[in-house]
Amino acid sequence: MIDGADTAWLMISSVLVLMMTLPALGLFYAGLVQAKNVLSVLVQCLAIACVVSLAWFVVGYSEAFSGTGPVLGDLKALLLQNVGRNAVHPGARVPETVYIMFQMTFAIITPGLIVGAYVERIRFGAVILFSLLWLLIVYDPVAHWVWGGGWLAAYGVMDFAGGIVVHVTAGTSAVVIAAMIGSRDGFPREVRPPHAPWMVMIGGCFLWVGWFGFNAGSAIKSGADAGMTMLATHLAASAATLTWMAIERVKFGKPSVVGAVTGSVAGLATITPASGYVGPLGAVVLGFAASCLCFAAVAAVKRKFKIDDALDVLGVHGVGGAFGSIALPLAAGIGTGGAALSHATGQQLAVQLLGVVSVAIWSALATAAIVKFVALTAGLRVAREAETQGLDFTAHGEVGYHVAG
């Protein structure tokens, strides 16, 4: 039976999660690039949202959420033709259509996150082809494994809102594509600073508020679980933001806006898998640890590995999501308010590790193959002059700022 309140909550959560991509993630990323690439980032996010939505409708939802085979869905929902107007999602009290919509917004933002790895140098056609294949080959299967009754679900892997399904897949794939497409011209010495930190901040704020739909919506029900999830999400983000600012204050003397917002996102990515299972104190601890870890990871990717994961998708999302997923069994036990685990703590830890590692490996391998394919077909990277002139004009024929008339 459909419950109006649960349905309203899941609908508004879907709206919030879509807003995370359109426009929040777009703004967050667009502010971090150079002024000559601001539009390209925005339109990449928009195009990914549309391509994923259609693919989700055609086959993606079937692959991930129809049937409970160990590896893949049963494809019975192709073109959503078996979805009745009044169908109810099994095990919940919301219409099937709303569940499809809610899950679609997750499928949209995940390849959207990867944009941060290849900005300022990728061909627009490659963005579209890559994101489509990546959805079908990486995201949909992994979503099935963890959330659709697949083999990781059978092991009892816990991932409340996508630490593994969203952040580990995106983070791992991001660093692979960044390495394969090569660094931006001039990296790391001559790369230009974020052209609009104010835009980063606005994008980050809307990511934050949208994330309540992401995490608390994942309860698929309005009530106590959603409530604690929301509170935990917010506290983790707050702790992470302050921690990142404190680190910057100590290391560089000044806490920056871009750093603070990066801390927020690190905290949000980290709490995501655990958000439905921890109490307030556990959330604060996770948030604090998130910024310490991600701060180090961001520097390591750039300096040690010299990979131009331009907007730090691995360092912030990948590392945060993996850490949150693994630390979840411990964090759930900190203070009051946590929820029960599927297994005893130690065993749960092992299962979580299995989940993170196997998904990371699959994401990396599959992404490498997809990128290779895209390079051979659509072509991966724009010409040097186009990169110099900027993608806004060369790929889209437009100029971001025409303030001088």
Binding site: L32, P188, V191, R192, P193, P194, E248, F252, S256, V258, G259, T262, F295, V298, A299, K302, R303, D312, G315
Partner: protein
Amino acid sequence: MKFIIAIIQPHRLDAVREALLQQGIEGMTVSEVRGYGRQKGHKEIYRGAEYRISFVPKLKIEVAVAAERSEAVVNVIRDAARSGNIGDGKIFVFDLETATRIRTGETGVDAL
């Protein structure tokens, strides 16, 4: 007539403008420029990566004056623009052959 170009620190604009006004110079043209010189640019650090900003924001002031006032005006600008730090800027003086006021067609010193 002489044409004076001064490159100054942005925050000295008001001081320079007032000093010029007191000298009876009531016209000038200002634009934003970026300077490169002994004053090195700064670093911005984002997410642990350092970005070198080589160019420093400056303002360029252009003033056309009668030849005999040129030296006095240069001195006034110099004093008003000085903060004593590296990067305070330069003043350049050029010969100006003719000047025309668009509205009236007046030329020469009358046009200023």
